[in-house]
């Protein structure tokens, strides 16, 4: 049944599915895991980095990009159409600054990207973007924001979310552990993101790429060393927790 209605993007199936869009969503689920967390004064984007081949220069493999000083985006992309959404969004951010004399709100640029994606699901001769994006940033009035878009062109705001391969596991972890205390401070929020990723990433800190935006400060991508330090702290905290539990049991 499905094969008869999935040749073209512009054809609905009898039970109301647009199969091409759903296939695009499936493609997105195969990507590396990414997590976004909205803290009080900080927003964090963490991505599972595939291990880099020995001869490959690490710096050129970047999936988190700044759209403007106060907004950055992670895209899980499949195959082609990689540069275009980044570039179009960057141009739109500057265009908005030029015309409206104000930086974009995170919602505006998310809406723009979502509209762009939606147009590609409703015209002949094109295929949907196989892209799911996490967009984080601060609005002009200082509110932190996290949005996620998917290939069908819808977007939602989240407090914390994950996309990619093991998104479900990570999201469950976040649902349990996203509390007011967990995001009380900048460091705590970063640690929460790392903890969430460590659930699903194989070899620890080396395979995590982390980007952070603090209020009124530009995007910062954490160095490998900083991540290592934080991972070490997390390990230590875990051991201390385990120790406490052991002591409780024994006494």
């Amino acid at each position: 049944m499905a094969t008869r209605y999935d040749r073209a993007i512009t054809v609905f199936s009898p039970d109301g599915h647009l199969f091409q869009v759903e296939y695009a969503q499936e493609a997105v689920k195969k990507g590396s895991t990414a997590v976004g967390i909205r803290g009080k004064d900080i927003v964090v984007l963490g991505v599972e980095k595939k291990s880099v081949a020995k001869l490959q220069e690490e710096r050129t493999v970047r999936k988190i990009c700044a759209l403007d000083e106060h907004v950055c985006m992670y895209i899980f992309f499949n195959l082609f159409m990689f540069v275009q959404p980044f570039d179009i969004s960057r141009v739109e951010c500057q265009s908005h600054r030029l015309t409206v004399e104000d930086p974009v709100t995170v919602e505006y640029i998310t809406r723009y990207i979502a509209t762009l994606k939606q147009r590609y699901t409703q015209s002949n001769g094109r295929r949907p973007f196989g892209i799911s994006a996490l967009i984080v940033g601060f609005d002009d009035d200082g509110t932190p924001r996290l949005y996620q878009t998917d290939p069908s062109g819808t977007y939602h705001a989240w407090k914390a979310n994950a996309i990619g391969r093991s998104a479900k596991t990570v999201r469950e972890f976040l649902e349990k552990n996203y509390t007011d205390e967990a995001i009380a401070g900048d460091n705590e929020t970063i640690k929460l993101a790392i903890k969430a990723l460590l659930e699903v990433v194989q070899s620890g800190g080396k395979n995590i790429e982390l980007a952070v935006i603090r209020r009124n400060q530009p995007l910062k991508i954490l160095e490998a060393k900083e991540i290592e330090t934080l991972v070490a702290e997390i390990e230590k905290e875990k051991e201390e927790e385990a120790e406490k539990k052991k002591q409780k049991k024994s006494t």
Partner: protein
């Protein structure tokens, strides 16, 4: 798309690209909400048209003489308690008085006002278009548009048709997150922010009056009186301004219409005080 090309069928969007210069067919999609100009859907201009040349030929003595509505005095100034906007109400077409009761202030929304001077038709059309864009901005972004952005939109509209004979001098006044805002926008694409502006052929007279009486810490009543005097004296000396003074006061929670007073009565009152 490939099949269309093979069949030789040109869809409407592509035909449009052949008619309009610079092939900006992507504008048909219109996710870019902020472009106005000769290639957009509002007012596409066919190639080879030269409006300003046509208008010049109409002003010659020998042939048909078309005098556009011109002539006005408008003024606006910022002070401690907001922005005062005062305009006259005369519309003249050459030596013919078209109307003495035109409203030269367009109420874009409760927090934005636009004044009109120059060609009445141009002002009315473009400022109403600006009002439409401001409303759309409010609906799309759930936030009122800032005064800077509104004046920028109007300025971009003017720039899209620069050199084509538009005639408009407008002041966009409002109150937004940055406080009271006052911008002067004209048909050449000039956009200036400042504490006081006056436009129209009576503006020199208005500047003289307002400059000599202006203080930043005026009381509200003093500011009203200054606005009234500015327009009244300008209409007294300028033939193309007259009618009534329409005055608005832009406050933090919106504008209020202060008064609508006949200038001849005002002049009579001032004269009694003078001599």
């Amino acid at each position: 798309m490939a099949l269309l090309q093979v069949c030789g069928f040109t869809p409407y969007a592509e035909l449009r690209g052949q008619i309009l210069p610079a092939g900006q067919t992507h504008l048909v999609d219109r996710t870019n909400h902020y472009s106005f100009g000769t290639n957009t859907q509002e007012f596409a201009v066919p190639l080879g048209v030269d409006p300003s040349g046509f208008l010049k030929s109409c002003n010659r003595e020998g042939g048909v003489c078309i005098d556009l509505n011109h002539g006005t005095t408008t003024l606006a100034f910022k002070f401690k308690h907001g922005v005062i906007v005062a305009v006259d109400s005369r519309a003249s077409a050459g030596r013919y008085l078209a109307s003495n009761d035109v409203n030269k202030v367009i109420e874009i929304n409760p927090y934005l006002l636009g004044t009109m001077s120059g060609s009445a038709a141009d002002c009315q059309y473009w400022e109403r278009l600006l009002a439409k864009e401001c409303r759309l901005y409010r609906l799309r972004n759930r936030q009122r548009i800032s005064v800077a952005a509104a004046s920028k939109l109007l300025c971009n509209m003017m720039l899209g048709y620069r050199g084509m004979g538009l005639s408009m001098g407008s002041m966009i006044c409002g109150w937004d997150n940055e406080g009271p805002g006052l911008y002067y926008v004209d048909d050449q694409g000039t956009r200036l922010s400042g504490p006081m502006f006056s436009t129209g052929c009576g503006s020199s007279f208005a500047y003289g009056v307002v400059d000599s009486g202006y203080r930043d810490d005026m009381s509200v009543e003093e500011a009203y009186e200054l606005g009234r005097r500015g327009i009244a004296h300008a209409t007294h000396r300028d033939a193309y301004s007259g009618g009534v003074v329409n005055m608005y006061h832009m406050q933090e929670d919106g504008w209020i219409k202060v008064c609508k007073e006949d200038v001849s009565e005002l002049i009579h009152r001032y004269r009694k005080g003078m001599f």
